[in-house]
């Protein structure tokens, strides 16, 4: 395991993802308000907060699936390019896992993981298939390689989606409520894969309602409400002693002791 960068006092390398003064509106709704955020290499940042607080939107701005109205976002020190070839190249370096899996319905599980490697990364097909099978084994769905997504359970589909994103060898992985569409008994198999990924040193941004995951895997918890980052802290500090009233209120509603 790589060294944990959290609370690291040594002068760290430049942060991997930097958002500064980011603003976004949906019509009259100011969904992201003056967001400043730095994510370091290997850090696991968990975004929590009530519905409509802007956490999914924030997550999606990092690979520009959502555009922003003002401010800057940089990845490895380079600002996100506008629409076009450069943006496509950048997106290949940012893995994304969606709430509704979004596996390609007309392709087999194996093809789902192979497709972008061959078409975007221009990897040889045989090599891409080898990578795909290794990744599918790693997330525990190797036996399903020749099935179609619709034949898999939600948990299996989500693990395939993680493998598909990992196949691009991303610098950072974005998870947009990856377990929210799952049956309760399938949540853990997905979280387990994510914990493993975090332990392997992957830089991750996770939007979730799974407080257990936030506690155990996060380096930092960001609490968002009404388009602002209200509070951020280590999971221990945040869950035991939230500072803001908004966070206290939120936690009292969702944590049952």
């Amino acid at each position: 395991m790589t060294e944990s960068p959290v609370e690291d006092s040594t002068p760290a390398a430049a942060p991997l993802v930097v958002l500064s003064n980011v603003n976004k509106h949906y019509g009259a709704l100011h969904v992201l308000q003056d967001i400043d955020l730095e994510i370091r290499q290997g850090e696991v940042v968990v975004l929590i907060g009530p519905s409509g607080s802007g956490k999914s939107t924030l997550c999606r701005t990092i690979n520009r699936l959502e555009t922003i109205d003002s401010g800057t976002i940089t990845l490895s020190g380079r600002p996100l390019p506008a629409e076009g070839r450069e943006l496509a190249k950048l997106r290949a370096e940012v893995g994304m896992v969606f709430q509704s899996f979004n596996l390609f319905a007309h392709k087999t599980v194996l093809e789902n993981v192979v497709l972008a490697q061959v078409k975007v990364r221009k990897v040889l097909r045989s090599h891409a298939e080898k990578t795909a099978r290794e990744l599918l084994d790693r997330v525990g769905v190797g036996a399903q390689a020749d099935k179609y997504p619709a034949q898999l359970s939600g948990g299996q589909q989500q693990r395939v989606a993680i493998a598909r994103a990992l196949a691009m060898k991303p610098k950072v992985m974005l998870f947009d409520e990856p377990t929210s569409a799952l049956d309760p008994e399938m949540v853990n198999e997905v979280l387990e894969v994510m914990r493993q990924l975090a332990a392997d040193g992957m830089t991750m941004v996770v939007v979730t309602h799974e407080m257990g995951f936030a506690r155990s895997a996060a380096n930092r918890v960001l609490f968002m409400a009404d388009g602002k980052i209200v509070e951020q802290d280590t999971p221990d500090a945040f869950f035991t002693a939230p500072r803001s009233d908004r966070a206290k209120d939120f936690l009292s509603k969702i944590l049952h002791h």
Binding site: A88, L90, G95, F98, N102, L115, A150, A161, R164
Partner: protein, 216 residues
């Protein structure tokens, strides 16, 4: 009914039939390629392309086909464009049908969940990769039903070319009429020929529909 087998009538009828098939097949090919391209334009992120697609559809779908034939056959030569009558007919019929194909494909694209395109883009695919590798293959299944209607209408629309010096079925009918055969028996054979073409197109699409079923 027997007139068809007198003199050179059968040869005339056969040539007309083959010409209708050739005209229809070439127009269908043009319509499919151009229509797909126009549909891609209409969903593209580039405003100029979107405007081009919309203009084409508005212009060609709303103009009577006969008028389009006039425009192509008599409008292009003064501009220095000289083709055979058949080529002009293919351009008119293909361009007209392309506007319908475009709208059918666009409606099919809209049935594919947005998440599919987002997943493709998040993996670094560009617009054309997203469209050709992920969206269109999934849209194809939904599109086949309405598409078969468009391509059944096409051979029947091709009859208009008969009035613009293309020797297809409809113009064969005109010649037979001039030769004084009974209108009923002429139309019987012509109708049979169109029916055969339409039925073939319809069964081709039924075959495709059964082959391309996608589980979701």
């Amino acid at each position: 009914m027997g007139f068809l087998f007198e003199q050179d009538n059968f040869a005339l009828f056969r040539d007309g039939f083959l010409q209708t098939i050739e005209l229809s097949a070439l127009s269908a090919l043009l319509a499919l390629l151009l229509g797909t391209l126009l549909a891609a334009f209409r969903v593209s992120p580039v405003p100029v392309l979107r405007a081009f697609g919309t203009t084409w559809v508005t212009l060609f779908r709303n103009t009577p086909l006969t008028l389009l034939f006039f425009a192509v056959t008599f409008g292009l030569p003064p501009l220095g464009v000289h083709f055979s009558h058949l080529t002009f007919a293919v351009l008119a019929l293909g361009g007209y049908t392309a506007s319908f194909v475009c709208e059918v494909i666009r409606s099919g694209i809209n049935t594919v969940p947005l998440g599919q395109a987002e997943a493709a883009r998040s993996l670094g695919m560009n617009f054309f990769q997203t469209l050709s590798l992920v969206i269109l293959p999934q849209a194809t299944r939904t599109v086949l039903g309405p598409m078969s209607s468009v391509f059944i209408a096409l051979p029947r629309n091709s009859a208009i070319a008969g009035a613009f010096s293309v020797g297809e079925l409809y113009s064969a009918q005109q010649t037979f009429s001039e030769r004084g055969y009974s209108i009923f028996s002429i139309f019987f054979w012509v109708a049979c020929a169109y029916l055969l073409i339409s039925a073939t197109v319809a069964s081709l699409f039924r075959f495709l529909e059964s082959r391309l079923a996608v589980a979701r």
